[in-house]
């Protein structure tokens, strides 16, 4: 690996929006409270008589000064998040426009043309509204963000399903290490979609109750929407502009199960490999971790695969808390890795992590400890990991470092 010669990559801004909160601080407050702000959706979202809780963003998603005409909801969520992150970073548009700014964003729903009205008119042989087509063609997440911010630099929309945002942050780290940009905006965004609701239901992965990651009674996941991202730069660039540093992206790993399209490898083979790569990339050992933010969707197979991987990696979960935040946000698909990277960094900076919302009684079959609902654990160090698993068998891991002693 070339990480030994690579510059340190810092986080100088962050933002997230989900049902847990309209911004990062509100989300953290609600996480600590263990709030579950979902609402039951039935007909319209799910087929037949099925209904299930979904985590929908309310309120402030559409009041960003960056908003422009003809953007879809995924972009609205991303733009609100970017605005928050830029405020945290102390950057304005004029500053950005003088820099090479890379945009790496993950999404799943945001890259598809799923306008039902257009489709129905087309299917019936009518003449669909061209504006809807234009909106789709203008909604490549990274490209449109470049245009709205008025910036130039590398761009990538990562469509790696539920690991998309984790991989987007990894891609941005690589860009910065290779000098391709001065600043990177990286994370993910996804809106709640009827197609995802129907599709996940068809795979029998949705719980009809609030999700319970790692709980012995867990029945599946709840879908959600949101966005989460980092403003990243090299440490020297941040220092030169006297920007505040909130953390570092120390390592990134990605590996594929090469096993099944929708089910994780039972032993978390690819996840183990991704974690080892991320640790090697950061020049770290497993013992350096102080916490793990698991993917923790609440499906039986996902949680079990993660448990096996964490156990095989030799993590002492008695001293290294393992948590999932999806009980508070739902599974936000392409946004999940970004939101959870932000939560991980905030936990590392607060030196304590909140237990898994929805996990009342850890599955007794698990060989590892999981920090449960209502618990709060101090962290033994300032380095933590956020990990993501995805359809297609992809696994991503980010090693983050908080600031302070």
């Amino acid at each position: 690996m070339c990480s030994l010669q690579s510059p340190d990559i810092v986080v100088s801004g962050y933002g997230c929006i989900s049902a847990a909160g309209a911004d990062a601080q509100e989300s953290l407050i609600n996480l600590v409270r263990g709030e579950v702000r979902n609402s039951v959706k039935g007909e319209g979202f799910f087929p037949g008589s099925f209904s299930a809780p979904c985590f929908v963003v309310h309120g402030k998603s559409n009041n960003s000064f960056l908003l422009s005409q003809g953007v879809n909801r995924t972009l609205q969520l991303a733009l609100k998040c970017i605005e928050d992150a830029l405020v945290v970073a102390g950057m304005d548009l004029r500053f950005l426009q003088g820099k090479r700014v890379g945009i790496a964003m993950g999404t799943t729903v945001g890259c598809t043309f799923h306008n039902e009205e257009y489709y129905k008119v087309w299917k019936s042989g009518g003449e669909p509204d061209n504006d809807k087509l234009i909106t789709y063609l203008s909604s490549n997440l990274a490209e449109r963000i470049q245009k709205i911010l008025g910036v130039k630099g590398p761009r990538a929309v990562i469509t790696n399903a539920c690991a998309s945002a984790t991989d987007a942050i990894g891609v941005a780290k690589t860009w910065l290490e290779h000098g391709m940009c001065d600043i990177a905006i990286a994370g993910g965004a996804d809106e709640l979609s009827r197609i995802a609701c129907h599709g996940f239901r068809s795979l029998m992965l949705i719980s009809d109750e609030s999700c319970m990651p790692f709980d012995g009674q867990r029945k599946g996941l709840n879908l959600g929407e949101g966005a989460g991202l980092f403003i990243m730069e090299t440490e020297s660039h941040a220092t030169d502009r006297r920007g505040e540093i909130f953390g570092r992206v120390l390592g990134y790993g990605i590996a594929c199960d090469a096993y099944h399209l929708t089910a994780p490898h039972p032993q978390g083979r690819g996840l183990q490999l991704a974690v080892k790569m991320a640790l090697e990339n950061g020049g770290l050992d497993i013992d350096d971790l102080a916490m793990i933010n698991a993917h923790g969707t609440g499906t039986p197979a996902n949680d079990l695969a993660e448990v096996h991987a964490i156990e095989s990696l030799g993590v002492d979960t008695g001293t290294v808390p393992v948590v999932s935040t999806k009980g508070a946000t739902g599974h936000t698909l392409g946004a999940a890795g970004g939101i959870e990277a932000v939560f991980t960094l905030m936990a590392l900076n607060n030196k304590e992590v909140v237990g898994t919302v929805g996990c009342k009684q850890r599955d007794k079959a698990f060989s590892i400890e999981v920090l449960q609902h209502g618990q709060l654990a101090p962290l033994k160090g300032r380095i933590g990991m956020s990990q993501s698993l995805a359809f297609g068998g992809s696994n991503g891991a980010l090693i983050l470092e908080g600031v302070g002693s």
């Binding site: 990538a156 790696n160 129907h198 599709g199 199960d257």
Partner: protein, 260 residues
């Protein structure tokens, strides 16, 4: 760093022949997945046997403009009809399903990434593949572009660009590796620069790109046109190739050197 281009495969859907022993793996696959798997298989044929590195040293970057669009509409159709959504159809509608299929069938356990861009997605993928090799994450990286479009898109194109010729579904796959390998002659990629200069709207349905290879210019009009033109030159080539692609949305500069 030098990144060697050791194999190229490209084909249109109409000319695609699925090797018999892949048929069972692909019995439920849509065209998008089938194109990706067959191209990756043909590109890697013999390579893994000659280079028995660990499976995690092999990976892929798949770039696409429109992704699994027809399968997305098939799922949407079941939602609006409404009829039960097929779990297989839904899982195949996810953009990285093709990458997952390729990885699973060919046992690639390294980085498998799908990127989506309306403008020259192959070259966005090539750039990310170059970085995956340069950063040491991979030693062998397949760079793939698949496009299958949809009837809805074709109808929209006819309305917005009545004079245009229908786009043909197809695939391009290159194998990029960080070491030269056994071949006596091999191109290496000395430079790749991608510059985005405008933003997509209807213009990405009206592709007109100038591809210059050693100053000989040709015009292409579909999302796979530029990379297929370059691939054909590289397959037949014996000398260095300096390539420039000028499109309405992006420009790409490439330099391939022949290493004896």
């Amino acid at each position: 760093m030098k990144m060697y281009l050791s194999a190229i495969y490209q084909n249109r859907l109409e000319g695609l022949k699925t090797p018999p022993h892949l048929e069972r793996n692909l019995r439920r696959a849509d065209d998008f997945i089938r194109l990706a798997v067959v191209a990756a298989f043909e590109t890697l044929q013999g390579v893994k046997e000659q280079n028995p590195d660990s499976p995690e040293s092999y990976g892929l970057i798949l770039g696409t403009a429109f992704g699994t669009m027809q399968t997305n509409f098939d799922v949407l159709d079941s939602v609006v009809t409404p009829e039960p959504t097929s779990p297989t159809l839904f899982s195949h509608s996810v953009f990285n399903a093709a990458g997952g299929y390729v990885a699973s069938i060919l046992n690639l356990q390294g980085s498998v990434v799908t990127v989506t861009d309306f403008s020259l997605p192959f070259f966005k993928a090539l750039q990310e593949g170059y970085l995956a090799l340069a950063s040491g994450r991979l030693r062998y990286c397949l760079i793939i572009q698949v496009e299958t479009y949809s009837q809805l898109l074709e109808d929209a194109r006819k309305i917005n660009d009545p004079q245009s010729v229908p786009w043909q579904p197809g695939v391009v796959c290159w194998l990029l590796q960080s070491e030269k390998g056994e071949r006596k002659k091999a191109y290496y990629l000395e430079k790749i620069e991608v510059t985005d200069k405008d933003h997509a709207s209807l213009s990405c349905l009206q592709i007109s790109e100038n591809v210059s290879i050693n100053n000989e210019v040709r015009k292409v009009n579909d999302p796979l046109g530029a990379v297929m033109a370059i691939g054909a030159e590289l397959q037949a080539g014996t000398h260095d190739k300096v390539v420039k692609i000028e499109g309405a949305l992006s420009e790409v500069s490439l330099c391939f050197r022949m290493r004896e």
